[in-house]
């Protein structure tokens, strides 16, 4: 379970203070897919970065399975599988070696790493590229490698930052099935996207973020009821207060 409690984060830039996140709270439960939906620059990535301890919040706190993300950062990272916005894979290593590297950093045994690598590659259909060097991988192959690498230690909580970015339709479909499978295994999945249809198709709960704040949250039905719009797209537009980002 992942809880974000009143998160705030600002950055100093040349033009002044940028308030990226100003009061984001939500809870992502086990066995559910929680979608963070918002236009580009809404603060989704910064929020996620605070969840996986890359940044510490200026105010507020994060609890992963009850552990505080600032005080128990290492334990928190053990409980998380993360696909960050940056998903570079090592070009001179094979997909299998990329996955094994992260497995070893998680302190896994070689036997466990081999078993998990096979499970994940079967689930994502990447057996054909497993022993190829990542140099020349397609965007989809790179994303699959990065996801397998993030999940090698069998984490209870999974955070994916815009996982479908740059993927073709077939790969996206495969990824959706994979996420449903993760939910079926009782994991807590957080998934960010700026594409409304995608979030609507996948998520049990939606947290709409814009300008660093939570504009609305709940199941798709709750969102529709809350905004008084029968159409989820209209509900989204009403929630963020503009059509910005809708067609991005």
């Amino acid at each position: 379970m992942i809880e974000a409690i009143d998160l705030h984060k600002s950055f100093q830039s040349k033009t002044g203070l940028v308030k990226a996140v100003q009061g984001v709270s939500f809870t992502a439960r086990d066995g559910e897919i929680t979608g963070l939906l918002g236009p580009n620059g809404a603060g989704k990535t910064t929020t996620l970065r605070m969840l996986y301890t890359l940044m510490s919040p200026d105010a507020g706190s994060v609890r992963i399975d009850g552990f505080d993300a600032v005080r128990d950062a290492e334990t928190v990272r053990r409980h998380l599988g993360v696909l960050p916005d940056a998903r570079g894979v090592y070009k001179r290593l094979t997909a299998r070696e990329n996955i094994a590297y992260f497995g070893r950093l998680h302190g896994m045994s070689e036997a466990d790493i081999a078993r998990r690598t096979n499970e994940l590659s079967a689930a994502m259909g990447m057996e054909d590229v497993l022993d190829r060097r990542a140099e020349g991988f397609s965007q989809g192959q790179r994303t699959k490698t990065a996801i397998a690498r993030a999940l090698v230690h069998d984490p209870k909580n999974v955070i994916l930052d815009e996982p479908t970015n740059g993927l073709d339709v077939m790969t996206t479909r495969g990824l959706r099935e994979f996420l449903h499978q993760l939910r079926g295994e009782g994991r807590c999945v957080i998934f960010s996207s700026h594409i409304m249809q995608e979030v609507a198709a996948l998520c049990d709960r939606i947290v709409v973020i814009a300008q660093g704040r939570v504009m609305a949250a709940g199941t798709p039905d709750e969102l529709r009821a809350h905004t008084g719009e029968a159409n989820l797209e209209d509900a989204f537009v009403k929630a963020i207060g503009s059509e910005e980002g809708l067609h991005a």
Partner: protein
């Protein structure tokens, strides 16, 4: 397996698969440079012996003014040539190394027992004209002294009266210390190899990894940032020591195959092992400093732009010592680059290094390395490290 070791193995695997970079950094530098330098040393050596022993050609202006002197010079391995039209220009455009001018009043002054004027025309800023000038000067001095002595004898005075001092030299330079002179470049080459040998790997593993967007996922693993950084530093140190070892082996082989160089250098395995020990602090200092720079730089390009500056650093002590030579003192052993310079020279000259010198040297070197490691680790903990790309 310890995460530090995991990171180190991965970085080295990554590097080993980058064949071209590996070849350039391992072979071009450490193997080509000694060969080149020994080759140049051989050429210089050759030139010096030929300049010392070959008949010296000297254009003489006014040779007819002093036929006896000319005849004596010709007996001393000097070939007298007619002077060029414009002697000053001939020296300036380097077509002549040295020209002798005998004054028109030479005979007159000679017969009056006054100092007779001769003039040596040369360019003191030309390195390769020094030996010919010296040869000619010594010959003229000898001639003058010989004639002076004869004149005293002719007046019934013992020639020793005019020589109140007898100055003689006892050259205490050992063959090994001459080597130090001949191989002044050796410390610089070794220090540079040790200091920046792992530079490619360090910059690539920090700034490059960030640019390729793989640093953020790496930092999301449970491994502590300082551990990840230390693994990368360890890999770079291992690589730096390897390239140093290759350089030293190349030197050893050059001396095996070119023993006729006339210089003796302590290239025993024991000396090589001690040189490696001397270089360890500088390898650590270089890698930690580069990690510090790479972790703060916004891109690989920015990190690399520091390289030309860093290449100058090891040269500083050599330059300072050249301009302002100072005696070996203990504080030098605590000054980076200067200390390595002195230690390596002592080792190849087979000089004794006291245990206090070793102690100060290793303590100061590793101490500075540890300080830089700590500074780099602080930068690694900076939030902006992973995200600025």
């Amino acid at each position: 397996m310890n995460p530090l070791f995991v990171v180190m193995v991965k970085e080295l695997t990554d590097l080993l698969r980058d064949r071209r970079t590996l070849m350039v950094s391992l072979l071009m530098g450490p193997l080509l440079m000694p060969a080149l330098i020994l080759g140049i040393g051989y050429l210089a050596n050759n030139r010096i012996t030929s300049q010392l022993e070959k008949p010296l050609e000297v254009p003489v202006i006014g040779a007819s003014n002093a036929p006896n002197l000319i005849a004596w010079l010709q007996g001393q391995n000097i070939v007298v040539k007619p002077a060029p039209k414009d002697p000053d220009a001939a020296i300036r455009n380097q077509s002549q190394d040295v020209i002798l001018r005998i004054d028109a009043k030479f005979a007159e002054q000679w017969h009056a027992s006054l100092p007779a004027s001769v003039e040596i025309l040369h360019d003191s800023s030309r390195e390769d004209a020094q030996i010919p000038v010296q040869r000619l000067e010594t010959l003229l001095e000898n001639y003058g002294q010989g004639v002076g002595a004869l004149r005293l004898v002719a007046r019934g005075i013992s020639p020793t009266t005019a020589a109140p001092l007898r100055v003689s030299h006892r050259d205490l330079a050992t063959p090994e210390s001459r080597v130090g002179q001949a191989l002044a470049f050796l410390p610089y080459l070794l220090i540079l190899t040790g200091f920046l040998g792992g530079a490619y790997l360090v910059i690539d593993a920090t700034a490059g990894e960030r640019e390729r967007q793989s640093l953020e996922p790496l930092l999301a693993t449970p491994a502590a940032r300082a551990t990840i950084m230390s693994g990368k530093i360890a890999a770079a140190c291992a690589f730096g020591v390897t390239s140093l070892l290759l350089t030293l082996i190349a030197f050893k082989l050059s001396f095996v195959f070119a023993p006729s160089l006339g210089i003796k250098l302590d290239v025993s395995l024991w000396a090589i092992a001690r040189i490696l020990l001397v270089m360890l602090p500088i390898v650590l200092i270089g890698t930690c400093l580069l990690t510090f720079i790479a972790a703060g730089a916004k891109s690989v390009k920015e990190a690399q732009s520091y390289m030309s500056l860093l290449m100058l650093l090891p040269m500083l002590p050599t330059i300072i010592l050249m301009v302002n030579p100072v005696k070996n003192q203990l504080w030098m052993m605590a000054t980076p680059f200067l200390a390595q310079n002195q230690m390596i020279l002592k080792l190849v000259r087979s000089e004794n290094i006291s245990s206090s010198e070793w102690g100060v040297y290793l303590l100061a070197g590793f101490g500075l390395g540890a300080l830089l490691w700590w500074l780099a680790a602080r930068r690694y903990h900076d939030e902006s490290l992973a995200i600025s790309a």
